[in-house]
Assembly symmetry: C2
């Protein structure tokens, strides 16, 4: 019997690669050989005859690719939490299963969210620049030097209150926050899933906001953690910033376009808010050195590293390989997307 063909659009590492290598007798594994993102033309050419394809966020899964592969294709396994790059409808109509890795990066992203909140409040970017530029010797100690707002006693507002937002709230509790507000697609209604039992058990109030207005007005820290949809695009714009407190900060760990970047730059310029911490931004990664957001001393921007821990990326790779195998044999995946 011919071996099943599996395409993998990256070199993997450690356990994930070992799992793949161990199946070399049963599977014909064809891996993109370079460290750069996989060429589309290479993928279309090699997909022919594949039963499974393991893709990255940067590989588009559409009719063209599915046609190139052929009708024997059983499974797409995406090394990602998001599936915006996948045409789910096309998979459904062809009865192809979709695996992804939505849960294993919760801790890594929640950790980074805490880092960004603290950097926005405590002027992390400004402080590092001051020292790197050799300005410290000329700025002797002063009682108000580099002071920022303190998180104790804060109201923290979550735009989107899924697993990552709730994991962030769990970490924030011992910092002494006073209250949490969250806004979901059903304002004023209790959140569907209480992933860590916080809503039930936490000693502070955790309340569903009546709308974006209430959340903007009352929050000292605003955390953007919602999916990008037509109704969340530019949800945080001039109107929202105008309602925020002058000492409040905003953090985005979701998708860039939820925040209107031009409006954010203006809000920072006009000291409408205190600071910002961004893991994502509109038009990433095409952010040139002269981008206006990079001129804002009170804004910290990191290059979409939310899930970038060694442990999480290893686990994402391993789960992706397991999802491909499950797709080939008809077994249960670690995480399968509903189509």
């Amino acid at each position: 019997m011919a071996r099943s063909k599996v395409i993998v659009t990256r070199q993997l590492f450690d356990e994930a690669q070992r799992l793949l290598d161990a199946k070399k007798d049963e599977l014909e594994v064809v891996q993109w050989p370079s460290e750069k993102p996989c060429d589309r033309s290479w993928l279309l050419e090699h997909a022919k005859g594949a039963t499974g394809i393991l893709v990255m966020l940067s590989d588009k899964v559409d009719e063209e690719l599915l046609d190139a592969a052929g009708s024997q294709l059983k499974v797409i396994a995406s090394f990602s939490v998001g599936t915006d790059h996948v045409d789910r409808g096309a998979l459904k109509s062809r009865n192809i299963r979709l695996g992804y890795t939505p849960t294993c990066l919760t801790d890594a992203v929640a950790d980074l969210t805490i880092m960004l909140i603290l950097m926005a409040q405590r002027r992390g970017g400004e402080s590092i620049s001051m020292v790197r530029n050799g300005e410290w010797p000329q700025k002797p100690w002063h009682p108000l030097l580099m002071t920022g707002p303190q998180i104790r006693g804060s109201t923290v507002g979550f735009l989107g209150f899924g697993r990552i937002a709730q994991a962030t709230l769990k970490r924030l509790l011992p910092f002494g926050i006073k209250k949490a507000l969250y806004l979901t697609s059903t304002p004023g209604k209790p959140v569907k899933e209480d992933h860590f039992g916080l809503v039930q058990e936490a000693a502070i109030p955790i309340e569903s906001a009546t709308g974006a207005d209430q959340l903007a007005k009352e929050s000292d820290v605003v955390i953007v953690g919602c999916a990008l949809t037509p109704s969340t695009k530019h949800l945080v714009s001039t109107d929202f910033f105008n309602k925020m407190k002058k000492l409040a900060v905003v953090v985005n760990i979701a998708r860039g376009p939820v925040i209107d970047t031009d409006a954010l730059v203006r809000a920072l310029d006009e000291e409408q808010i205190f600071g910002a911490g961004l893991d994502v931004i509109e038009n990433e990664p095409n952010i040139q050195a002269d981008h206006p957001i990079l001129k804002q001393p009170r804004c910290v921007l990191v290059p979409h590293i939310g899930s970038a821990t060694i442990e999480t990326r290893e686990q994402m790779a391993t789960e992706s390989v397991k999802n491909v195998f499950a797709g080939l044999t008809g077994a249960a995946m670690v995480n399968e997307a509903e189509l």
Copy 2:
């Protein structure tokens, strides 16, 4: 009756200044008028006849100042947690009381410690620089781009385990750390004060290390939070770094000289450790732009901003004023140092 004279070596703010201003009928308040640190010559000249002096960390309190003030001096109130700038023996022999502000900055410093741990692990400094330098467009997504170690499952080692270290541990628990080790001046012995009941109640082991060796070998995160004494100076040096794990990070929120800076630079150069986060450093603030530590991409250095929150600095100012008043009237201080 003549009004008591009080010298204040800074302009204060908000409630602290209001408290002072409200006593203008009873007290002759003489305040250093500039925003720069107080001139020594101004202080010596104006101290004459003072009953109380409110000083900053940058004002030396020694025999010369006490002589200049005269025998009516009853109280020194220092706007600081440390009292290295005060000759305690001289105060004791003259029966002058010393107030300070050791407790109100615990939260602010513990918050900053968490920020520095996460920045050291998650490559915060490197990430910011990459984006600011316009390198993001040329560094497309890669599964191992900017990855660092994850805190979940870590053993966290504390050099010094006082109030701030314990407040840091309290914040770290929901990040999923596995174990805490601490080293105090009595290795292997339980810590004297369990400020937040963690040692008793936490779900993870919190153990006294047998020595610096064990702590260096077993920790994934090392937090320097001890006082600077002859025995802690350069406690973290080449020998310590050699024993650390390659993926471990070190954070210093105590006093610069506990870490041997040259050894740290070598350890980072030779990838003996993964990264570092420093709020303090030897010879601060005299850190020029060409200092070797600033060439280390995996080291984040901020300008001693541990307690730099608006709330904490206001509280330090207010407590300092209250300590002066208490010293004048013989009442109890918010915090009085034992001499």
